[in-house]
């Protein structure tokens, strides 16, 4: 019915593979597994592109959620069952500088600068939810913060980020 144009996938890959790989890698912390999951993510995007509905959200959000879910599913499988919850809070901001992995962050300095403008509470929430891929209830359980507080902090962080990133 719909003849798919591979140049479309090519375009999506070139634009978003970095951001999605970042999402997947930070959850899985293993290059080989993260690469495998990234491929699965794009295969799924490719298969399901017809079911994407722009009324329900942006294309990036849709792809990001696929990536997040695939990666979280993978952590639940035995392949990488440990390690996910044992990192210290500053995992991203510090590790990205240390570059212990072969991947180079595309814009890590920019990210660090942006995050450091947030309050510590907000940095923590953004780091856990967007970068490390925890769910809100996981953060609440893990760190003994009421779920409502997690949501409020995220909300405030988003408003702050909006002005830092100049999103109108």
């Amino acid at each position: 019915m719909i003849r798919k144009d591979q140049s479309a996938l090519d375009y999506l890959y070139d634009h978003y593979s970095g951001a999605l790989y970042g999402v997947v890698f930070r959850i899985l912390k293993n290059e080989a597994i993260a690469e495998e999951v990234l491929q699965d993510v794009f295969l799924k995007v490719w298969e399901k592109i017809e079911s994407y509905d722009s009324a329900k959200g942006k294309l990036f959000t849709w792809m990001m959620n696929i990536a997040r879910n695939q990666a979280i599913d993978k952590t639940r499988s035995k392949e990488s069952s440990k390690g996910r919850k044992t990192d210290d809070i500053d995992y991203l901001v510090n590790k990205i500088d240390i570059q212990e992995h072969s991947q180079l962050p595309i814009d890590a300095i920019g990210l660090k600068e942006v995050l450091l403008k947030l309050s510590e509470d907000q940095q923590f929430i953004v780091n856990q939810l967007y970068l490390k891929g925890y769910t809100q209830s996981e953060v609440a359980d893990e760190f003994n913060i009421p779920l409502g507080t997690v949501k409020t902090r995220l909300r405030l962080a988003m408003i702050e980020l909006r002005s830092i990133l100049d999103i109108k």
Partner: protein
């Protein structure tokens, strides 16, 4: 519904993170359709999230892309959509086809967006190219104007051409330059045919020999194309000569540096 309260509850952030139950999702989607303010807020949340994750991007190795495309090319393209067999009502088909049209158009919209981005960058390139061509055209025009002016001198019978050849003490006898001298107006023009390149400290200086004495006709640089207007020579010279002098010229010539010289034909 109080929109502000709804937004500040953080439910849209949770929605964008894909963490709502199916029931809650549906509710949010209904509300989104109903309230433009919610759509607006959601899109800001999504843009912020996208901007953060773009900044946190990591490059996968290049082989990953290659492998992905290999996999995709193994899977047959597209999928067969099977329709329900019973054709009891036309609604079924109407719905199916409207869904198909909706899917197709959202896909096309996205696909054309990509193409649009591409043509936008092509356009920028073309504009730059256009500016280059306009610049070239201007340069050619200027050159043409100069050649026209030069032609007025060289084709004017009032001008006498004096060919200056390599001077006896010049190392290269093939050096050549010409002077156009107008006996009526006393104007002097010079054109270089072949001269050696000079260092920045030096310039050529043209002299008119009048009554056995050299008179300064001005300095010129190496490598000027076309005619150069020099100082007028007010008496009738017998000879024109060019020497190498320090930049700016000298009041009297250093004869040992004479490069070319030529005599004015008598008549």
């Amino acid at each position: 519904m109080n929109i502000e309260e709804y937004i500040s509850s953080g439910i849209l952030e949770t929605y964008a993170l894909g963490e709502l139950s199916a029931k809650e999702r549906e509710d949010v989607e209904k509300n989104l359709q109903q309230y433009p303010a919610l759509r607006d807020e959601l899109s800001k949340i999504e843009e912020t999230m996208e901007a953060v994750l773009m900044k946190a991007a990591l490059n996968p190795r290049a082989e990953v892309k290659q492998k992905l495309f290999e996999k995709i090319n193994k899977v047959p393209e597209g999928k067969v959509v099977t329709m329900a067999q019973e054709s009891s009502s036309g609604w079924r088909y109407a719905t199916a086809s409207s869904v198909a049209i909706a899917l197709l158009s959202s896909y096309l919209a996205y696909n054309y967006w990509g193409k649009w981005k591409k043509s936008e960058s092509n356009l920028t390139e073309l504009i730059a190219q256009n500016q280059r061509i306009a610049q070239d055209y201007n340069n050619v025009n200027l050159r043409l104007d100069q050649i026209e002016t030069d032609l007025k001198v060289t084709s004017n019978p009032d001008f006498t051409r004096v060919v200056m050849k390599g001077a006896p003490n010049s190392p290269q006898s093939q050096y050549l330059a010409s002077v156009y001298w107008n006996a009526q107006t006393k104007e002097v023009y010079l054109s270089i045919q072949q001269m050696k390149e000079l260092s920045k400290e030096n310039q050529y200086q043209l002299w008119a020999i009048i009554d056995g004495k050299p008179v300064d006709c001005g300095v010129f640089d190496f490598g000027v194309a076309g005619l150069i207007k020099m100082k007028s020579a007010f008496a009738v010279p017998t000879t024109f000569a060019v020497t190498i002098e320090p930049r700016g010229g000298k009041p009297s010539p250093s004869l040992e540096t004479m490069q070319v010289a030529g005599n004015l034909a008598k008549g």
